[in-house]
Symmetry: C2
Subunit: 256 residues, 2 copies
Amino acid sequence: MNATRRQLAILRSLRTRKGRGESGLFLVEGVRLCSELIPAKARVEIVLVAEGRDPSGALGKQAAQLASAGAEVLQAPLRDFERISDTVNSQGILAAAQWDDLAPEALRFTEQATVLALDGVSDPGNVGTVIRTAAWFGVSAVLLGEGCADLLNPKTVRATMGGIFQLPICRDVELKDESGRLKRLGFRVSAATMDGSPDWSGWAKNPRSALILGSEARGVSEELRRLADRRITIPRRGAGESLNVAVSAGILLSAL
Amino acid sequence: MNATRRQLAILRSLRTRKGRGESGLFLVEGVRLCSELIPAKARVEIVLVAEGRDPSGALGKQAAQLASAGAEVLQAPLRDFERISDTVNSQGILAAAQWDDLAPEALRFTEQATVLALDGVSDPGNVGTVIRTAAWFGVSAVLLGEGCADLLNPKTVRATMGGIFQLPICRDVELKDESGRLKRLGFRVSAATMDGSPDWSGWAKNPRSALILGSEARGVSEELRRLADRRITIPRRGAGESLNVAVSAGILLSAL
């Protein structure tokens, strides 16, 4: 069925935080990310396919799968599709899925658990790549604190490469309160800083470990640094001045 | 002095590979990156400052330093400046510097040396972030092989965060020939693949080690995989499907 003007307007509004907040929906773009929706049991409201972009019928097949899981399948001229899509070379399929917010208190941790918290990481690509990395390493949960890019920004979603569906993620977390709570649950909290211990290889040797990473510009906030049990630093061996936050996450998580 | 139309056109041409090829110049944008030009002894031809963007005089001071190192300092209306700048919120200063290509044969290695080679990494941000990471870890040289994003693309330059000036980088390297040459120089060549040894912690235990990383889509080419002394893999512990190439570089280089 052809999408109505109104439906297209709703989908387009999902590019903005305001639009996502009003509808509770977010955009999932492309074949690969859409293929994660069914295993993740996401509630998909709308699937939009671009007209003339499906010569092989593969998109139609994917859309039909999502329809059988309850989604309404719509089509639109390529021009309208592209006004919604955030990608430059879109594959001609996108979905609007419901995001169910998860409170940190609802997380259930096993005996061995690793939590990754981001403080003020404002770049959507960086937040997404950290989540992708956390999914690779099987982190128990990711907590997004104040000043972080919106998880549901299409750029963040895309950079997760499916990671958004592969591990629990909490948004708008008050990290100050949450690190206290994690400590009471037996977590040892480490903050990655520029002045920490260069011997970080054992940061996760506690059965339950939490790691806080800060923004590239300002690092972990002073208050969170003070609350942490320890500060750790990736030793610099060259002339470089900094590491990307997702690269730092990968290096530290590889020591799990 | 005000930039002429012709000068502005040359600067604007540096956004394209063709323009950079014709003039041998590349764009260096922003206060931080421009501050690397003098210690790096880069030959800077032109510094362009946006009119009205220097209330504190800091840009003028930086431009004067570059002038004393031989650069011609020009100014232009903000609108013209922004047509050249690749950044969204530019700081109002950019430079056109000469890039001196470095052949791999000209590299001189010490007893202990680590070389990082990229095969087909086409995203400028990824190439830049790999170089930033290599600079942090003090890698001896970075080799960019076939299919890599242009090192001198403004997006690559920016993502290096100064790393482009902090270690030797060779462009357009025929990696097949070069891995043979490195082997003859005593390098042990490792390729990061999805099917390699999960015990990669000792990949750099040879005094001279080279590491080849491939594109996220296709990995290291079959031919280079065969030429490598060994294949290594970062073990996956979660549901995630892949790692970003710069994150992989960071994880493997942290084991240096």
